[in-house]
């Protein structure tokens, strides 16, 4: 199998990597790039845990060949906070206790961020429509809905992660 060189931007950093044609963006991100925030949940695009942004578009990285992101901008959950400033949606997830086991959280936040980019003040119906592909077994979704709807109230930089 031919190896491919893929040049892309990962969370704002230019990367040049070598991959096999059959490698998935999910596995390249997690194993080669050691960014394990993006999760494998079902492998067939049914749960949304692997959601990342490719050129600003939510993408199921378990169904995305890595070779095909050549030239693209990829953002994972690790790239959402600006330095030590949480994204308003991340803060809103904490404020609304929308995190339980946390395994679905990165995917939830990535798709929620995409909705808020398009529509900063979504209605509940819009949230439900946009997030119907993200499964969560812990929360029953109410806190997550509140977090997405309430993110507009959290300005960027509202909260800084304490220095280590």
């Amino acid at each position: 199998m031919k190896k491919h060189t893929v040049r892309f931007s990962l969370n704002g950093t230019p990367r040049e990597i070598t991959v096999n044609a059959n490698e998935l963006l999910l596995n390249v991100t997690r194993e080669q790039e050691k960014l394990t925030g993006t999760k494998y949940g079902c492998g067939i695009g049914e749960c949304g845990a692997c959601t990342v942004h490719v050129d600003g578009r939510p993408t199921l990285s378990c169904l995305q060949l890595a070779v095909a992101v050549d030239g693209a901008e990829v953002v994972t959950i690790e790239g959402l906070a600006k330095g030590r400033e949480l994204d308003p949606l991340q803060k809103s997830f904490l404020d609304n206790n929308a995190v339980q086991c946390g395994y679905c959280t990165p995917g939830m936040i990535m798709i929620g961020r995409n909705l808020l980019d398009e529509n900063p003040n979504p209605t509940e119906e819009e949230v439900r429509t946009h997030m119907r592909g993200q499964l969560c077994r812990c929360t029953g979704y109410a806190s997550i809905t509140k977090a997405v709807m309430g993110a507009g109230k959290c300005a960027t930089g509202d909260f800084k992660i304490p220095a280590e």
Partner: protein, 726 residues
């Protein structure tokens, strides 16, 4: 003490693992990798029941892979769940099996330097099977001449024969039911069936095992109990426990699916020991879906009651399809409670029922069968409980192991480390317990950190199961915190030159510290941090305590459900529209998270009641879903009621045996769900359903019968209570 005086317990500040979870830096077992790590895969049986005639791994080995077959693993059988004591622990498993007992049974482990090579090696393995009778029903299994799935089962070292595939029968008799039924005014008899529910925890089971230079192993695993995993691995592989170190990592949900040691855990260890390399096995979703499930059950119930509704006699025949490894592994799922006896010392049920009824407008509920349009609404209620833990072994009669440990230590700057092996499945148990420690010590909540730990640096904790986390685990941590507080007071009394009895500790939010002071001598005060520094700089030692305890009671955590459904009588679909969920968990330690657990219970309960059933093909024993989540059908955000239409409320109770009055919540949150939904459907349609899930197909069939005005209704709706002849 009333809950209103509490400072940390009961607040809804950010959970302590929250930042790492929202930024993607939290490490779950699938996120762990170590240097020189190999990748493992498990070859699983495509047959529901087959003897392994031969296994040829030569091609895999020629590729450089290491294989683990039945011949390579210890042959002594074990039980993967060790919360019971040996006299009631039935052992029937080996690391990999010599016989396939369900589709997906683990038969051979393979490890190789890359995941791709492991995959190729797996596919090169040749197994010759002798296919045996597929048994998918209780009736088939018990027939004379049915192929035995297990020939024997090991109990307390004794190999016990299995007749007609029944390994264990348990009869529980209390009182005189003959007399009770004779004295009843009414007797009703009903049969119920429940579905086969996949846990659908988001994290597929994973293990990483690193062999150590001294012959020991370090293990990261998806588990509800790092200590039970350690004990089992030690027993299976003949390792002393001080050479088995299981690390605590975040758990991506469990719902009972990791009470036992997961099937891949000992396989990963076997591969690591054989290859000499660290080995990681991260299961696929399809493997996971074959590996655990809530047992389907059939229950026959007979109840005798007085005219006023008082229940005075009951008989229940329950067949849980617990025939392990028949056509699918079983496991416990939220809500399958232990048979424990508890002492009720706090009871919020009357309050829950009253509040819930008001929130849902119970008095205005539709009269069953009174509606005629296409869309019909119905309100149903049910209540239930789960014990908080399993209580005292002798009292429960079930010989359960149940104790927790905790280490609390004061750091040199006044912060506190809580070291506890108890796992948090996501509900916020560890966060809650850290608040209990902060409350007791009188320091602000943020001063108590939840320490990473492993089995070598922590005390034993049985398992986070049976709704015991806060009640049992929290009590152990409270015991350690009390001991630490006593030492803090003793030292502070010496430093401040006052009597220990005169000192109190309270959190000072401005200072961000606990302050130790003497209420009637204002100048005699210091912060906990000052004291810690003083002890450190004068080499006076570390204040700490390591405590272990068993809760002797297991108080019921009560939950009430009022749900409002809308039934589309044209499509048979049932929509969940409103819910009022009440919990009596004693003092509420994490209010927002507790509310979230209730709503999560509603979501799981709705799936159980209306849509989910991970059934197998009765002929082949293959899962209808083939393990692909596309046919798993767990409820999504779209199936949930609107946020404003879900109310949660808590009883104002105080459990005297619980830490700061707290009881459990976890599993109880789901227990009444199915009954509440079935009752709501009855309210909407005037039709009773006794079989889960209540699918659109079943609704349409029942409506057709109802419309036909047939007496068939009588068959579906079991007979009305029969007056007992005088």
């Amino acid at each position: 003490m009333s809950a209103t005086q509490l400072k940390s317990v009961g607040d809804s500040s950010w959970r302590k693992d929250g930042i790492s979870k929202v930024t993607g830096s939290e490490q779950y077992a699938p996120d762990i990798s170590v240097d020189r790590m190999w990748y493992g895969r498990v070859l699983r049986s495509p047959h529901a029941h087959a003897r392994i005639v031969s296994v040829d791994t030569s091609a895999a080995e020629a590729m450089g892979a290491v294989c683990l077959t039945f011949a390579d693993v210890p042959q002594t059988r074990y039980n993967e769940r060790i919360v019971s004591t040996p006299p009631c622990l039935y052992r029937d498993r080996t690391v990999v099996a010599d016989k396939a007992r369900h589709v997906g049974e683990a038969l051979v482990g393979v490890a190789a330097p890359t995941e791709e090579l492991a995959e190729k090696a797996l596919r090169s393995i040749k197994i010759e099977y002798e296919v045996l009778q597929v048994i998918t029903t209780i009736e088939q299994a018990q027939k004379d001449g049915a192929d035995p799935v297990h020939d024997t089962v090991l109990l307390n070292g004794e190999d016990k024969p299995i007749i007609n595939n029944v390994a264990v029968q348990r009869t529980i008799d209390v009182g005189d039911t003959v007399k009770g039924f004779a004295e009843s005014d009414f007797v009703i008899e009903r049969s119920f069936k429940t579905g086969r529910i996949y846990h659908a925890q988001m994290e597929p089971k994973t293990v990483i095992c690193q062999p150590e230079a001294d012959g020991g192993i370090t293990v990261w695993a998806s588990t509800q109990s790092i200590h039970n995993t350690r004990i089992l691995l030690g027993q299976i592989y003949g390792l002393p426990l001080n050479k088995v170190n299981v690390k605590k990592v975040a758990l991506g949900g469990a719902f009972g699916s990791s009470i036992q040691m997961n099937s891949v855990t000992p396989i990963g260890v076997g591969l690591a020991l054989k290859s000499g390399h660290p080995v990681k096995i991260a299961t696929t979703r399809e493997e996971d879906m074959h590996d655990h499930v809530r047992y389907p059950s059939e229950i026959k119930l007979k109840l005798g009651m007085k005219k006023d509704g008082t229940l005075i006699a009951g008989e229940m025949h329950a067949f849980e399809f617990k025939l392990k490894q028949y056509v699918g592994l079983g496991g416990t799922f939220w809500g399958q409670g232990p048979a424990s006896k508890c002492i009720i010392r706090s009871d919020g049920v009357p309050e829950l029922l009253k509040t819930g009824a008001e929130l849902i407008n119970w008095d205005k509920r539709p009269k069953p069968g009174s509606q005629t349009g296409r869309m019909r609404r119905g309100i149903g209620m049910a209540r239930g409980f789960h014990t908080s833990g399993v209580g005292h072994a002798k009292a429960s009669g079930a010989e359960m192991i149940d104790y927790s440990g905790a280490i609390v230590k004061l750091n040199e700057d006044g912060t506190v480390d809580l070291i506890q092996s108890l796992m948090d499945h996501g509900g916020g148990t560890n966060h809650a317990i850290s608040k209990i420690v902060a409350e007791e010590l009188g320091v602000p909540n943020h001063m108590v950190g939840i320490s990473p730990c492993d089995t070598r640096t922590s005390l034993y904790d049985v398992t986070t199961h049976a709704t015991r986390g806060i009640y049992a685990g929290g009590a152990a941590a409270l015991k350690a915190a009390k001991a630490v507080k006593e030492q803090i007071i003793d030292w502070a009394a010496r430093v401040l030159d006052v009597l220990p009895e005169s000192l109190v500790i309270e959190p000072d939010q401005e200072l961000g510290q606990g302050v130790i002071y003497c209420p009637n001598l204002a100048e005699r005060r210091m912060t906990v941090g000052d004291l810690a520094r003083y002890l450190h700089l004068n080499s006076l030692g570390t204040i700490s305590s390591s405590q272990s305890m068993r809760q002797v009671n297991c108080p019921p955590a009560y939950v009430s459900y009022y749900v409002d459904v809308e039934v589309d009588t044209d499509t048979g679909q049932i929509h969940s529209r409103r819910a009022a969920l009440g919990s009596d968990c004693g003092t509420v330690v994490n209010p927002a998270l507790a509310s979230g657990q209730l709503i999560g219970g509603l979501s799981k309960g709705q799936g159980y009641a209306l849509t989910e059933d991970n059934q197998w093909d009765p002929v082949t024993g293959e899962l209808a879903s083939k393990g692909f989540w596309v046919d798993g059908k767990t409820p999504s955000i779209s199936e949930s009621p609107l946020v404003a239409d879900i109310e949660t409320h808590f009883a104002h109770t105080y459990e005297p045996t619980g830490p700061f009055g707290a009881k459990g919540l976890g599993e109880a949150a789901k227990n009444p769900a199915a009954a509440a939904f079935a009752n709501a459907v009855y309210s909407a349609l005037g039709i009773r359903f006794y079989e889960l899930p209540i699918t659109p197909e079943k609704v349409l069939a029942a409506l057709a019968e109802q419309a036909a005005g047939k007496t068939a209704r009588a068959a579906r709706q079991a007979p009305a209570p029969v007056p007992v002849a005088e």
